[in-house]
Amino acid sequence: MTAKIIVVTSGKGGVGKTTTSAAFGTALALQGHKTVIVDFDVGLRNLDLIMGCERRVVYDLINVINGEANLNQALIKDKRVEGLSILAASQTRDKDALDKAGVGKVLKELRKSFDYIVCDSPAGIERGAFLAMYYADEAIIVTNPEVSSVRDSDRILGVLSSKSQRAEKGKDQIKEHLLLTRYSPERVTRGDMLSLDDVQEILSIPLLGVIPESKAVLKASNAGTPVSMDSESDAGQAYNDAVKRFMGEEVEHRFLSEEKQGLFGKLFGRRKAG
């Protein structure tokens, strides 16, 4: 099978790109696919921290591009999940450290030994974000149900369809997937959060999954464990569902409505929240 490059992108910062890259990549590996997660956020690397391997970073992506280390030296094998590796970003402040040819070379080499290459994009539409998506076959657009996030997602979709290698070479378009994160069904019912239908209607790209707002996400990042490894949690289950859908399985969407409460729960819950 030919390896697939997946970019996790959003335009806006803080919507859950790194959380998603870590959880999605780990879930891919848990389901038996050889996966590498590559951090493209040069200068502000955080994937290593979310994955809990920050103390094992010796060489990074830039070192490999510059020929200061080979790929095997820079790849960090996850100790918990078989077939999962991480390639950290550099902490250099040199913005031009990444170049198109160098990234292309590294990705080409990674294609040989992995089934999936998950590229964790930095926020914005600058160089790092551009290079993270340039070689992608598929894109996961991480969006929060909030106006600025939806607008930025739309901008990123525009960039994907015009500036990627696939667009330049006139090949098939990058396959786009919407991943709605930090979704709170209670607030949607109350009418103070954009609903899934609203966001889908506005962005009109296929839905990969909805990740509910969950305490498990912060707990997972505190511990350095990707949230998809917490199969008890709602967010963990939602990420595993999303990966199954990505692999073509039909999985019903969950966590889209409020948990059933009694009359008292509803009355008191509302009062508390209002």
């Binding site: 939806v150 901008r155 109350r190 103070d192 609203d198 506005i202 009359l263």
Partner: protein
């Protein structure tokens, strides 16, 4: 029991999510149209304004250039608002509308 909770729920028009959706729809209609317009449009608009300014005293905001895509046809709409004095002198309509259509090859 639904009727009971609906008593406490805010009315539709008060819901901020609806406001958010409407705002997004308005801004997207604008931004998507701009994203599809050719790169030379702002420069051309500037030059057209300069040419008109040679003959008539107008501000740049009195020239509106709209670019619209309809199937394989692109429509460029120029809308110039001429000042009052010119109108009296020419005793013609206040607005001059020029529409040009050109065919663009479908991608």
């Amino acid at each position: 029991m639904k009727w009971l909770t609906s008593l406490f729920a805010p009315k539709t028009q008060d819901q901020s999510a609806n406001v958010a959706k409407e705002r997004l729809q308005v801004i997207f209609a604008h931004e998507r149209a701009r994203a599809n317009s050719p790169d030379y449009l702002p420069k051309m608009q500037k030059e057209i304004t300069e040419v008109i300014c040679k003959y008539v005293k107008i501000n740049s905001d009195q020239v509106a250039v709209e670019f619209e895509q309809k199937g394989d046809r692109s429509v460029l709409e120029l809308n110039i608002t001429l000042p009052e004095e010119v109108e009296k002198a020419a005793s013609k309509s206040k607005q001059t509308k020029a529409k040009t259509a050109k065919k663009t090859a479908a991608k």
